[in-house]
Amino acid sequence: MKGFTTNHKLLSGASIAGLILIWHSAAWLLKEPLILPSPRDTLLNLLMLSGTRDFWRHLGSTLGRGLIAFGLSFLIAIAIGIPAGKSKSMDVLLRPLLVCLRSTPSMSFIILALLWFRGGNVSFFVITLVVLPVLIQNIIEGTRSIDPELREMAIVYQVKKSRLLWKVDLPSMLPFLAASVSSGLGLTWKVSVAAEVLAYPTWGIGTQMDTARIYLQTEKVFAWTIAVIIIGLIFDYLADYLLRRPFAIWKGTKDV
């Protein structure tokens, strides 16, 4: 089992190395850093940027807004998703709304938000509307996955409602919650940068990217992109560690 995971790590390392190699070769062949900077220049730029205080402030602002909006959406999704998972009629009522929200281009939300709000508030609004349907869908499915036999056991033994939620329902849903956190956060970073590019809050990665574009600092656009990818990877790993690992232990696929 251990050899298998090491093998997996090697494989994912190789895929990233391959990607960098292709990028490097393309940059080397093109010799146009304004169009495609080399991985080396990008990395140097990222290192230089990360030495400044402003870099962390921009990063922190985007991160903070993203996390607050995501957290809020998550709470709303739980409040709506659990009842919808339990009641067929509420699900039927909700489904067209979710399809509408999911089919609306993110850009429509951003443009509307630009008309209605200013700066950072645009991000809050857009993230919530884009992430919410994905989260609700996952939570509805998670609620349906709760084992009715376990609930029946808890009910016959008169386990209190609040404890039923914490000890029976939510842990049953954990794999689905993990999936929703993972996909929802991925969307959060994408959408919040897009919103910032247009909304131009004083502090934010999107603002920095667009400024770099205006001054043709392509390597800076790449450097910020790499920074966003790293954020995504870190949070994906955290969600996996916190939410999927305990599940593997319960299922007996991991040693305690």
Binding site: L150, M153, V156, K160, K167, V168, K251, G252, V256
Partner: protein, 233 residues
Amino acid sequence: MYKAEGISKSFGELKVFHELTVEFPVAKITAILGPSGCGKTTILKIMAGLSEADEGTVVSTKLVGFLFQEPRLLPWLNIYQNLELVLEDKLPAQERDYAIKNSLQAVGLGEYYEYYPSQLSGGMKQRAAMARAFSYPAQLLLMDEPFKSLDLKTRFQLISDFLRWWVQKSNTVVVVTHDVKEAVWLGDRILVLSARPARLIECFQNDISLEARMDGEVSFRLEEAITKAILKS
């Protein structure tokens, strides 16, 4: 005396039983025998308050222990926590701890309380479920074919463990089964029900002592009489 008097229950067009009366004397084990689908489980669910009868009156109690066919343990809680979950607001902390450890001992899982269900065998999981029912402060214990999915040896051991516990506690127990031997091993009274819609065909008194019940030669006659009653229905 706990009882269900004149109860009727239908699922849509399907009439499970009609004006059925079954009685469960206090401090006795009543075994219910009957063909599949005759509503044995439904009777237990009605007694437990999980389901309501369409008609009739039910005399039950507020706290009811229940041993299901499957262990129904929460995979994310260890054995101790699984038992603790159902006791949390029924017993004060110290008493709870004692009840949990005591009942785990009684089923031979004294060393296993930190184990997760996934680390235990099928028989051990059912033992843990039995410990949960034992630790629960209920006067009435309902059991729905709890030994059905176990191999013969484990089944025999679990039934012995159960009877040893019961001798100390003398709870009122209702056990549903469709195994005649099991009914004779366990039941002080054995109710034989007919196929749907279920009627009470016969009620057997089992006067054989607990120790002698598992001896085939002693219980043979009673088993035969019950088998005849079932075949006649």
